[in-house]
């Protein structure tokens, strides 16, 4: 009994171990958090997983601090620049064009990722084909209703089969906070390339350095490990 109480009273640096254990947990979170998140996301489906802290979850960014509000009735997409046929497309015009649906992960350059996002829209290449791109065009730039954001793709990137002008997300009109009613979706690149509140498409003879690129992000925002084009734009990376 005396021994027992002596053991009970003896102090060991348990607290220090707890502290170091927590730090190890944090480090493991950084190292393996991505795989754990993907695993949990696959088990639960992204709907349920989005309710968990750190789960698949869109972070809504805006450059201006507000979201532009454009109704589908008033929406207009201007296609201009080096094209035979400049045009203005309404939301209904877009809906009437041949559409494709894609299901892709949305990956932000800052580290969050939402798997299996459903998009529906018109391929950018189809719109460019309708407008008739001039032979001297090298890039396509994009303007936003927020008046601040801008983006660009090389002409080759713009013709990738999964680059779309999206008007539906998860089966409904793209919501205001997700860049609706119409946004660009470039699934093989980081999210900042998928410009929100798309208002204009301009075909140009030089590649514009967009808002986020001026702030230090790469012009060619390929996801790591993505193949895409082998050498998308050698003079601009």
């Amino acid at each position: 009994m005396v021994d027992e109480s002596a053991v009970n009273g003896a102090k060991t640096p348990v607290g220090r171990r707890m502290f170091l254990g927590l730090l190890a947990l944090g480090a493991a979170g950084v190292a393996f958090g991505a795989s754990v998140q993907n695993f949990v996301g696959n088990k639960l489906g992204s709907g349920l997983a989005s309710l968990l802290p750190g789960g698949d979850h869109f972070r809504i960014y805006s450059i201006t601090g507000t979201y532009p509000s454009i109704s589908t009735a008033k929406y207009q997409l201007k296609v201009s620049g080096l094209v035979d046929q400049p045009m203005t497309l309404s939301y209904a015009d877009l809906q009437a064009l041949p559409s494709i649906e894609i299901v892709k992960a949305f990956q932000c350059v800052t580290g969050w990722r939402v798997p299996n996002v459903h998009w529906k829209g018109v391929t950018l290449s189809h719109i460019l084909e309708m407008a008739g791109v001039h032979g001297d065009a090298v890039a396509v730039s994009f303007e936003s209703y927020d008046g601040a954001d801008s983006e660009s793709l090389s002409i080759d990137q713009a013709h990738l089969a999964d680059v779309i002008v999206a008007y539906e997300m998860y089966g409904a009109t793209v919501s205001r906070e997700h860049g609706g009613p119409v946004r660009l979706v470039v699934p093989e690149m980081y999210g900042y390339k998928s410009l929100k509140w798309l208002s204009g498409i301009r075909v140009m003879d030089e590649q514009l350095v967009g808002y986020w690129e001026q702030n230090g992000y790469p012009v060619n925002g390929w996801l790591d490990g993505s193949t895409g084009l082998t050498n998308p734009s050698p003079n601009l990376s």
Binding site: F19, G29, G33
Partner: protein, 201 residues
């Protein structure tokens, strides 16, 4: 009536600076996480800057108070949190069902302090990766996002629990304002410490 000094001025000052920073971090963190809240009071980039700078400075008060010549009591209490007896561990494991005599801090308080300490380091490091993400591979950025969110949630629960416990233990809470507790309080809630402080009894 004998009064015992539970927290000196340095400790109280650090506690309230910390509380302020945590408050700011939580109230700016919520709209950053739930995008739909933002723009209600401030534009997002303002909230983001406030969150970033409060986060950068968060470890500073504790570090300065621990390392400076004024940190004698901080270091003493840190030592108390580091060293545990077996019965303290059992108390924690049984959620306080086992009756033991308490040190200056009960095992729950010790665990809370350790969590906050380690959590600050984790939040700082993962926050650093999120802010200066360019220097880290994508899988780290993702991992840092998950970890930052997870610990933010844990902090939210722990801070809420801390505030509830403080409000329901008035004398303990008031000692974070005036530094002192009564002998009766110490005999009841921190017997071993009371015995150290009052050896003559």
């Amino acid at each position: 009536m004998v009064r015992l000094l539970r927290f000196d001025a340095v400790q109280r000052f650090v506690h309230w600076i910390n509380a302020l920073l945590f408050g700011v971090l939580i109230f700016t963190g919520i709209p950053l996480y739930f995008g739909s809240f933002f723009g209600v009071l401030f534009p997002r980039h303002v909230i983001q800057e406030i969150h970033l700078w409060s986060g950068i400075f968060l470890p500073l008060p504790i570090l300065v108070s621990l390392l400076g010549p004024w940190g004698h009591r901080m270091r003493q209490d840190l030592h108390r949190c580091s060293y545990w007896t077996r019965s303290e561990l059992r108390w924690l494991r049984t959620f306080g069902r086992e009756r033991i005599t308490f040190d200056k801090f009960n095992p729950g308080q010790k665990a809370n302090a350790l969590f906050v300490g380690a959590g600050i380091i984790i939040m700082w490091a993962t926050g650093y990766i999120l802010q200066w993400f360019r220097f880290f591979p994508v899988s780290w950025r993702e991992g840092a996002t998950v970890t930052h969110d997870f610990f933010a949630f844990a902090f939210f629960v722990i801070v809420a629990g801390h505030v509830i416990m403080a409000l329901s233990h008035r004398e303990a809470m008031v000692s974070m304002l005036n530094g002192q507790v009564s002998e009766e309080w110490a005999e009841k809630n921190a017997k071993e410490w009371a015995d150290e402080e009052l050896p003559a009894k």
